[in-house]
């Protein structure tokens, strides 16, 4: 567990330093130089921070879905608790991804929002998280809350492959990998970023953010369990 904690701190710090300090050079010769990508230049550094948050929010949602599904099978409230915690973290990362994306869009494409398919999909995810928590707050009974929100998470999760993979490729858009874009990339293979060292740093960043997510998840789970135990002991005292 401490590997996760200190690993995430070390990795993210490393990515921050390397991502920002490594200079951009027209023809990079060694590992400590990044290529200049026309149209992006310095803004390319955003890749190390914006894309991993988007990845992490999708991961968090999938985790939430899986725990929801396990709750439905076993009716064990522990799974529901984990589902909510992951959804909460997912919401946070989703907001980060949307905001960082909009900021980057303003400087790269001219406006904060253009309804590019991939921008739309992070917006959809944001709405799904919002709807998930609205649903939960509308139900009083614990078991019903858990069951219905788990079903909603799964139903919403069924649309995820559509808006993450299919739509952005089939429709014209501004993100790399859209219809008519020759660089043929996508969220997984940022081929706009051919440079080996950039790609390595990107995956390191992905790992760092995911480890951070895991750490935050365990922290929230432990705090929730302590609160539950306190509630229980206060009940039994009376």
């Amino acid at each position: 567990m401490s590997a996760v904690k200190y690993g995430s701190i070390i990795l993210v710090s490393f990515v921050i330093i390397a991502g920002i300090a490594i200079p951009l050079v027209p023809s990079p010769q060694n590992w400590l130089e990044f290529p200049v990508i026309p149209g992006l230049e310095e803004k390319a550094r955003n890749i190390f921070f914006h894309v991993p948050t988007a990845w992490t929010t999708v991961l968090a949602f999938l985790v939430s879905m899986v725990y929801g599904f396990r709750y439905l099978r076993t009716r064990n409230p522990d799974y529901d608790q984990k589902s909510v915690i992951s959804a909460g973290l997912g919401l946070m990362f989703c907001i980060l991804a949307t905001v960082t994306g909009a900021l980057w869009a303003k400087f790269n494409w001219g406006s904060y929002w253009n309804w590019d398919p991939r921008q739309t999909s992070i917006f959809i995810l944001l709405l799904i998280y919002g709807a998930y928590f609205s649903l939960r707050s509308a139900i009083e009974l614990e078991e019903k809350k858990a069951a219905l929100s788990a079903v909603y998470a799964i139903v919403a999760g069924l649309t995820v492959p559509f808006f993450i993979f299919i739509m952005p490729r089939m429709m014209t858009g501004l993100h790399p990998g859209a219809q008519g874009d020759s660089s043929g990339g996508g969220p997984l293979f940022q081929s706009g970023m051919m440079a080996g060292n950039m790609r390595v740093l990107f995956y390191v960043s992905l790992l760092g953010f995911n480890l951070l997510y895991v750490w935050l998840f365990t922290l929230r789970l432990r705090i929730a369990r302590i609160e539950d135990r306190q509630l229980l002991s206060r009940h039994t005292e009376q």
Binding site: T120, A131, L158
Partner: protein
């Protein structure tokens, strides 16, 4: 226990109770007329282009659907007939019966919206009739399948007013975007082959939604 006759029985029961009160049909028709009237006031004689018309068309459909499609489950809760239905029919039968009802309702709704738009907006010319019909048909199915499972969820959640559109919209953005694009293509008279990708998306969306709903419906329906 899952037979077509049983599904038809659930479907016909809903149809009969709707025909008795005609609540849903009236409300939906009035809703369509109201939204189109408001749009007309806002436009003040301006004629919108095909992209805007296609968008408005499906906005009208979406909101009208949101006001009407939850009836199939909420009315059961309101009338207290949920438990009877649970005892009499299997979950899957109930689901398919309600799905069929919502699909038919959506098709009727969309037909109504089409008629109104044809009358009110001269720019709404359906050049590619085949594309339009298929788009409208597949779009209605997709909408109905997502709307049905969400209706089941909110009926059990106390169905407080705004919850239905809030839950449905994120899930429906995918088919809505697809269907709006396809409608634009049908208004502009684009060849059929250009729209096939939209149809594939709509069909797969419908299949995925229905399959998922069938598997999950039990957890919603039986509490």
């Amino acid at each position: 226990m899952l037979t077509l006759a049983q599904i038809m029985a659930v479907f016909l029961k809903d149809v009969r109770s709707e025909l008795r009160t005609r609540y849903a049909l009236n409300a939906l028709l009035m809703f369509v007329v109201t939204t189109v009237a408001i749009i007309l006031f806002a436009l003040r004689g301006d004629q919108p282009g095909s992209t805007v018309l296609a968008g408005m068309f499906w906005v009208s459909v979406f909101f009208t659907a949101m006001s009407g499609l939850s009836r199939s489950f909420v009315s059961e809760e309101e009338r207290g007939t949920t438990m009877t239905l649970q005892l009499i029919a299997s979950s899957t039968t109930v689901y398919f019966g309600k799905l069929l009802f919502n699909a038919v309702l959506t098709l009727v709704l969309v037909a109504g919206v089409t008629v109104v738009y044809l009358i009110v907006f001269p720019a709404f010319e359906i050049t590619g009739m085949g594309v339009f019909l298929l788009t409208v048909f597949l779009g209605s199915l997709g909408l109905a399948s997502a709307a049905t499972i969400i209706a089941a969820i909110i009926a059990k959640a106390g169905s407080r007013g705004t919850l239905y559109p809030v839950l449905s919209f994120p899930i429906l953005i995918v088919p809505l975007m697809t269907v709006m694009g396809a409608t634009v293509k049908s208004l502009e008279g684009v060849p059929f082959s250009d729209a096939t990708v939209d149809f594939v998306v709509l069909i797969s969306y419908f299949m995925v939604m229905t399959a998922g709903s069938v598997l999950l419906f039990d957890y919603v329906w039986k509490d």
